[in-house]
Protein backbone atom coordinates (compact mmCIF):
# COMPACT_ATOMS: atom_id res chain seq x y z
CA UNK A 1 0.00 0.00 0.00
CA UNK A 2 1.19 3.51 -0.77
CA UNK A 3 2.17 5.72 2.15
CA UNK A 4 1.40 9.07 0.56
CA UNK A 5 0.53 9.98 -3.01
CA UNK A 6 1.57 13.33 -4.49
CA UNK A 7 -0.17 14.35 -7.70
CA UNK A 8 1.46 17.22 -9.58
CA UNK A 9 -0.16 18.82 -12.61
CA UNK A 10 -0.02 22.29 -14.12
CA UNK A 11 -3.72 23.03 -14.66
CA UNK A 12 -6.96 22.57 -12.77
CA UNK A 13 -8.71 19.72 -14.68
CA UNK A 14 -5.48 17.96 -15.69
CA UNK A 15 -6.26 15.44 -12.96
CA UNK A 16 -9.87 14.88 -14.03
CA UNK A 17 -9.62 12.56 -17.03
CA UNK A 18 -6.46 10.57 -16.38
CA UNK A 19 -6.13 10.27 -12.61
CA UNK A 20 -9.29 11.26 -10.74
CA UNK A 21 -10.23 7.58 -10.48
CA UNK A 22 -7.01 6.39 -8.85
CA UNK A 23 -6.90 9.46 -6.62
CA UNK A 24 -10.38 8.56 -5.40
CA UNK A 25 -9.40 4.92 -4.92
CA UNK A 26 -6.32 5.83 -2.89
CA UNK A 27 -8.36 8.12 -0.68
CA UNK A 28 -10.99 5.40 -0.18
CA UNK A 29 -8.18 3.07 0.89
CA UNK A 30 -7.03 5.59 3.46
CA UNK A 31 -3.92 6.72 1.60
CA UNK A 32 -3.28 10.45 1.99
CA UNK A 33 -3.35 12.22 -1.38
CA UNK A 34 -1.87 15.67 -1.96
CA UNK A 35 -2.73 17.47 -5.17
CA UNK A 36 -0.28 20.17 -6.21
CA UNK A 37 -1.64 22.30 -9.02
CA UNK A 38 0.93 24.66 -10.49
CA UNK A 39 -1.35 27.27 -12.11
CA UNK A 40 -4.98 28.31 -12.11
CA UNK A 41 -5.36 27.72 -15.83
CA UNK A 42 -5.50 31.47 -16.32
CA UNK A 43 -5.20 31.09 -20.10
CA UNK A 44 -8.19 28.82 -20.61
CA UNK A 45 -10.01 29.70 -23.81
CA UNK A 46 -13.54 28.64 -23.11
CA UNK A 47 -15.50 31.64 -21.86
CA UNK A 48 -18.90 30.01 -22.43
CA UNK A 49 -21.89 30.82 -24.54
CA UNK A 50 -23.37 32.79 -22.82
CA UNK A 51 -20.14 34.04 -21.25
CA UNK A 52 -19.37 32.98 -17.69
CA UNK A 53 -15.92 34.59 -17.53
CA UNK A 54 -13.48 37.07 -18.97
CA UNK A 55 -9.71 36.66 -19.18
CA UNK A 56 -9.53 38.52 -15.86
CA UNK A 57 -12.23 36.62 -13.96
CA UNK A 58 -11.32 33.15 -15.24
CA UNK A 59 -8.68 32.41 -12.56
CA UNK A 60 -11.24 32.80 -9.75
CA UNK A 61 -13.73 30.64 -11.63
CA UNK A 62 -11.19 27.89 -12.13
CA UNK A 63 -9.92 28.10 -8.57
CA UNK A 64 -13.45 27.49 -7.34
CA UNK A 65 -13.78 24.56 -9.74
CA UNK A 66 -10.50 23.11 -8.50
CA UNK A 67 -11.74 23.31 -4.91
CA UNK A 68 -14.98 21.60 -5.94
CA UNK A 69 -13.10 18.87 -7.79
CA UNK A 70 -10.99 18.20 -4.71
CA UNK A 71 -14.13 18.06 -2.61
CA UNK A 72 -15.63 15.53 -5.04
CA UNK A 73 -12.57 13.27 -4.84
CA UNK A 74 -12.08 13.79 -1.12
CA UNK A 75 -8.67 15.43 -1.56
CA UNK A 76 -8.01 17.32 1.66
CA UNK A 77 -4.53 18.61 0.87
CA UNK A 78 -4.56 20.89 -2.17
CA UNK A 79 -1.54 23.03 -2.90
CA UNK A 80 -1.90 25.85 -5.38
CA UNK A 81 1.65 26.65 -6.41
CA UNK A 82 0.94 30.07 -7.90
CA UNK A 83 2.65 29.78 -11.25
CA UNK A 84 1.03 31.24 -14.35
CA UNK A 85 -0.61 29.21 -17.09
CA UNK A 86 1.48 28.74 -20.25
CA UNK A 87 4.64 30.15 -18.64
CA UNK A 88 6.08 27.00 -17.03
CA UNK A 89 8.48 26.21 -19.86
CA UNK A 90 9.82 29.75 -19.65
CA UNK A 91 9.93 29.90 -15.87
CA UNK A 92 13.22 29.77 -13.98
CA UNK A 93 13.73 25.98 -14.07
CA UNK A 94 15.42 25.99 -10.69
CA UNK A 95 12.39 27.67 -9.11
CA UNK A 96 10.09 24.97 -10.48
CA UNK A 97 12.38 22.13 -9.45
CA UNK A 98 12.99 23.53 -5.96
CA UNK A 99 9.28 24.19 -5.40
CA UNK A 100 8.47 20.59 -6.29
CA UNK A 101 11.53 19.35 -4.38
CA UNK A 102 10.29 21.23 -1.32
CA UNK A 103 6.95 19.46 -1.51
CA UNK A 104 8.63 16.07 -1.83
CA UNK A 105 10.86 16.83 1.19
CA UNK A 106 7.87 17.85 3.23
CA UNK A 107 5.47 15.06 2.29
CA UNK A 108 7.88 12.19 1.58
CA UNK A 109 5.45 10.59 -0.89
CA UNK A 110 5.86 6.94 -1.84
CA UNK A 111 4.28 7.69 -5.23
CA UNK A 112 4.21 10.76 -7.45
CA UNK A 113 1.83 11.09 -10.39
CA UNK A 114 2.44 13.61 -13.19
CA UNK A 115 2.48 13.75 -16.99
CA UNK A 116 5.05 11.59 -18.77
CA UNK A 117 7.92 13.90 -19.77
CA UNK A 118 7.97 14.51 -23.52
CA UNK A 119 4.49 13.06 -23.92
CA UNK A 120 2.41 15.88 -22.50
CA UNK A 121 1.51 17.69 -25.76
CA UNK A 122 0.88 20.96 -23.91
CA UNK A 123 4.19 22.73 -23.12
CA UNK A 124 3.16 23.23 -19.47
CA UNK A 125 2.55 19.49 -19.12
CA UNK A 126 6.05 18.67 -20.29
CA UNK A 127 7.70 21.44 -18.28
CA UNK A 128 5.93 20.22 -15.15
CA UNK A 129 6.87 16.59 -15.80
CA UNK A 130 10.51 17.46 -16.48
CA UNK A 131 10.69 19.45 -13.25
CA UNK A 132 9.24 16.53 -11.28
CA UNK A 133 11.75 14.13 -12.79
CA UNK A 134 14.62 16.52 -12.06
CA UNK A 135 13.47 17.00 -8.46
CA UNK A 136 13.28 13.22 -7.94
CA UNK A 137 16.69 12.68 -9.56
CA UNK A 138 18.19 14.82 -6.82
CA UNK A 139 17.01 12.33 -4.19
CA UNK A 140 19.43 9.45 -3.47
CA UNK A 141 18.29 6.51 -5.61
CA UNK A 142 17.50 4.24 -2.65
CA UNK A 143 15.08 6.83 -1.32
CA UNK A 144 13.15 7.86 -4.41
CA UNK A 145 9.39 7.64 -4.72
CA UNK A 146 7.92 5.79 -7.68
CA UNK A 147 6.90 8.19 -10.45
CA UNK A 148 3.84 7.37 -12.53
CA UNK A 149 3.97 9.22 -15.82
CA UNK A 150 0.78 9.92 -17.72
CA UNK A 151 1.50 10.23 -21.45
CA UNK A 152 -1.25 11.71 -23.59
CA UNK A 153 0.42 11.52 -27.00
CA UNK A 154 -1.47 9.35 -29.52
CA UNK A 155 1.65 7.25 -30.22
CA UNK A 156 2.47 6.64 -26.55
CA UNK A 157 2.27 2.85 -26.75
CA UNK A 158 4.46 2.72 -29.86
CA UNK A 159 7.13 4.77 -28.12
CA UNK A 160 6.85 3.70 -24.48
CA UNK A 161 5.35 0.23 -24.82
CA UNK A 162 2.38 -1.02 -22.81
CA UNK A 163 1.53 0.80 -19.57
CA UNK A 164 3.10 -0.53 -16.37
CA UNK A 165 -0.03 0.02 -14.31
CA UNK A 166 -3.64 -0.07 -15.44
CA UNK A 167 -6.39 0.76 -12.97
CA UNK A 168 -9.99 -0.06 -13.68
CA UNK A 169 -11.90 2.83 -12.14
CA UNK A 170 -15.47 1.87 -13.06
CA UNK A 171 -16.22 1.38 -9.34
CA UNK A 172 -15.58 5.09 -8.71
CA UNK A 173 -17.02 6.33 -12.00
CA UNK A 174 -19.68 8.42 -10.29
CA UNK A 175 -17.01 10.35 -8.39
CA UNK A 176 -14.89 10.64 -11.49
CA UNK A 177 -17.73 12.15 -13.49
CA UNK A 178 -18.42 14.54 -10.59
CA UNK A 179 -14.77 15.58 -10.72
CA UNK A 180 -14.90 16.14 -14.47
CA UNK A 181 -18.14 18.03 -13.96
CA UNK A 182 -16.60 20.23 -11.26
CA UNK A 183 -14.34 21.75 -13.93
CA UNK A 184 -17.39 23.16 -15.64
CA UNK A 185 -15.57 25.87 -17.55
CA UNK A 186 -13.53 23.22 -19.33
CA UNK A 187 -15.94 20.33 -19.57
CA UNK A 188 -19.48 21.63 -19.70
CA UNK A 189 -19.94 20.67 -23.33
CA UNK A 190 -18.89 17.10 -22.60
CA UNK A 191 -20.58 16.24 -19.31
CA UNK A 192 -24.16 16.03 -20.62
CA UNK A 193 -22.93 13.62 -23.30
CA UNK A 194 -21.21 11.49 -20.65
CA UNK A 195 -24.39 11.40 -18.61
CA UNK A 196 -26.96 10.73 -21.34
CA UNK A 197 -24.84 8.10 -23.02
CA UNK A 198 -24.20 9.84 -26.33
CA UNK A 199 -20.54 9.62 -25.37
CA UNK A 200 -20.51 5.88 -25.06
CA UNK A 201 -18.37 4.75 -22.16
CA UNK A 202 -17.86 1.44 -23.90
CA UNK A 203 -16.26 3.00 -26.94
CA UNK A 204 -12.51 2.61 -27.39
CA UNK A 205 -12.20 6.35 -27.42
CA UNK A 206 -13.40 6.54 -23.86
CA UNK A 207 -11.65 3.49 -22.55
CA UNK A 208 -9.17 5.88 -21.03
CA UNK A 209 -11.86 7.30 -18.77
CA UNK A 210 -12.67 3.87 -17.36
CA UNK A 211 -9.09 2.65 -17.31
CA UNK A 212 -6.35 4.85 -15.98
CA UNK A 213 -2.97 3.81 -17.31
CA UNK A 214 0.46 4.85 -16.11
CA UNK A 215 4.03 4.31 -17.20
CA UNK A 216 6.62 4.14 -14.43
CA UNK A 217 9.39 6.62 -15.17
CA UNK A 218 12.70 4.75 -15.43
CA UNK A 219 15.39 6.60 -13.53
CA UNK A 220 18.70 5.51 -14.93
CA UNK A 221 21.04 7.29 -12.54
Amino acid sequence: MEKHVLVIFPHPDDEAFGTAGVMTKFIKDGVPVTYACATLGEMGRNMGNPFFATRETLPEVRKEELLNACKAMGVEDLRMLGFRDKTLEFEDSELLVSTIGGLIDELKPSLIITFYPGHGIHPDHDACAHAVVEAVKRIPSNNRPTVYGLPITPDREEVLGKPDRVYDVTDVMETKIKTIEAHRSQTEAMVPRLKDGTLDLNSDMLKFIKQESFWIYPFTQ
Binding site: M43, N46, M47, N49, P50, T54, R55, E56, K86, P154
Partner: protein, 114 residues
Protein backbone atom coordinates in the same frame (compact mmCIF):
# COMPACT_ATOMS: atom_id res chain seq x y z
CA UNK B 1 -18.95 40.87 -21.83
CA UNK B 2 -21.35 42.02 -24.51
CA UNK B 3 -21.22 42.48 -28.25
CA UNK B 4 -19.07 45.42 -29.28
CA UNK B 5 -20.92 48.69 -29.76
CA UNK B 6 -18.56 50.50 -32.02
CA UNK B 7 -19.22 54.08 -30.95
CA UNK B 8 -19.09 53.25 -27.27
CA UNK B 9 -15.83 51.34 -27.64
CA UNK B 10 -14.30 54.17 -29.66
CA UNK B 11 -15.18 56.56 -26.86
CA UNK B 12 -13.74 54.27 -24.20
CA UNK B 13 -10.57 53.69 -26.21
CA UNK B 14 -10.02 57.41 -26.55
CA UNK B 15 -10.17 57.82 -22.79
CA UNK B 16 -6.86 55.92 -22.66
CA UNK B 17 -5.09 58.16 -25.19
CA UNK B 18 -1.90 60.06 -24.38
CA UNK B 19 -1.08 58.40 -21.09
CA UNK B 20 0.80 55.41 -19.79
CA UNK B 21 -1.44 52.41 -20.26
CA UNK B 22 -0.97 48.80 -19.17
CA UNK B 23 -1.66 46.41 -21.99
CA UNK B 24 -2.69 42.77 -22.12
CA UNK B 25 -2.59 41.39 -25.66
CA UNK B 26 -2.96 37.77 -26.57
CA UNK B 27 -3.94 35.67 -29.49
CA UNK B 28 -3.94 31.93 -29.73
CA UNK B 29 -5.06 29.05 -31.85
CA UNK B 30 -4.89 26.82 -28.77
CA UNK B 31 -2.03 24.72 -27.43
CA UNK B 32 -3.60 21.61 -28.90
CA UNK B 33 -4.09 22.99 -32.41
CA UNK B 34 -0.94 21.28 -33.70
CA UNK B 35 -2.53 17.92 -32.85
CA UNK B 36 -4.50 18.50 -35.99
CA UNK B 37 -1.62 18.03 -38.40
CA UNK B 38 -2.69 20.67 -40.88
CA UNK B 39 -2.69 23.31 -38.20
CA UNK B 40 0.07 25.28 -36.66
CA UNK B 41 -0.26 26.12 -33.01
CA UNK B 42 0.29 29.85 -32.94
CA UNK B 43 -0.08 32.49 -30.30
CA UNK B 44 1.42 35.63 -28.87
CA UNK B 45 1.06 37.13 -25.44
CA UNK B 46 2.10 40.21 -23.55
CA UNK B 47 0.85 41.06 -20.08
CA UNK B 48 1.44 44.43 -18.52
CA UNK B 49 3.20 45.78 -21.52
CA UNK B 50 3.42 49.54 -21.12
CA UNK B 51 2.35 51.70 -24.05
CA UNK B 52 1.28 55.22 -24.89
CA UNK B 53 -0.86 55.85 -27.92
CA UNK B 54 -1.74 59.13 -29.51
CA UNK B 55 -4.57 57.89 -31.72
CA UNK B 56 -6.84 54.89 -31.70
CA UNK B 57 -9.52 53.71 -34.06
CA UNK B 58 -11.97 50.85 -34.14
CA UNK B 59 -12.81 49.74 -37.67
CA UNK B 60 -14.97 47.20 -39.46
CA UNK B 61 -18.57 46.08 -39.13
CA UNK B 62 -17.93 43.18 -36.77
CA UNK B 63 -15.79 41.34 -36.01
CA UNK B 64 -13.86 44.54 -35.44
CA UNK B 65 -10.31 45.72 -35.88
CA UNK B 66 -8.58 48.15 -33.54
CA UNK B 67 -5.42 50.07 -34.39
CA UNK B 68 -3.32 52.09 -31.98
CA UNK B 69 -0.89 54.70 -33.22
CA UNK B 70 1.90 54.57 -30.68
CA UNK B 71 4.33 57.36 -29.98
CA UNK B 72 6.97 55.39 -31.86
CA UNK B 73 5.12 52.70 -33.74
CA UNK B 74 1.88 50.84 -34.29
CA UNK B 75 -0.15 48.13 -32.69
CA UNK B 76 -3.31 46.51 -34.00
CA UNK B 77 -5.59 43.58 -33.41
CA UNK B 78 -8.38 42.01 -35.39
CA UNK B 79 -11.23 39.60 -34.79
CA UNK B 80 -12.70 41.43 -31.80
CA UNK B 81 -16.33 40.71 -30.96
CA UNK B 82 -17.06 41.57 -27.32
CA UNK B 83 -16.14 44.09 -24.65
CA UNK B 84 -16.71 45.20 -21.10
CA UNK B 85 -15.52 48.06 -18.95
CA UNK B 86 -15.02 46.12 -15.74
CA UNK B 87 -15.44 47.25 -12.14
CA UNK B 88 -11.80 48.35 -12.06
CA UNK B 89 -12.35 50.60 -15.09
CA UNK B 90 -10.31 48.28 -17.27
CA UNK B 91 -11.37 47.99 -20.88
CA UNK B 92 -11.47 44.30 -21.76
CA UNK B 93 -12.02 43.41 -25.41
CA UNK B 94 -11.95 39.95 -26.89
CA UNK B 95 -12.76 37.92 -29.95
CA UNK B 96 -14.77 34.77 -29.27
CA UNK B 97 -15.79 32.08 -31.73
CA UNK B 98 -19.37 30.74 -31.89
CA UNK B 99 -18.79 28.32 -29.04
CA UNK B 100 -17.45 31.04 -26.76
CA UNK B 101 -13.79 30.22 -27.08
CA UNK B 102 -11.45 33.15 -26.82
CA UNK B 103 -9.13 33.61 -29.80
CA UNK B 104 -7.82 37.10 -29.13
CA UNK B 105 -7.87 39.57 -26.26
CA UNK B 106 -6.88 43.22 -26.02
CA UNK B 107 -7.15 44.82 -22.60
CA UNK B 108 -6.22 48.27 -21.36
CA UNK B 109 -5.79 49.37 -17.78
CA UNK B 110 -4.50 52.35 -15.81
CA UNK B 111 -3.03 50.00 -13.21
CA UNK B 112 -1.09 46.76 -13.74
CA UNK B 113 -3.08 43.57 -14.33
CA UNK B 114 -2.58 41.03 -11.53
Amino acid sequence: MKAIQKENVQELLESFENQKVYLHLETTSGAYAAQNKEKLSVGAYIRNGSVRFTNVKIAGAGPFRIGFKLEEGWMYAEGLTDYVLDDKRRLLMAGHDDSGRLAIAVQLSHTPFE
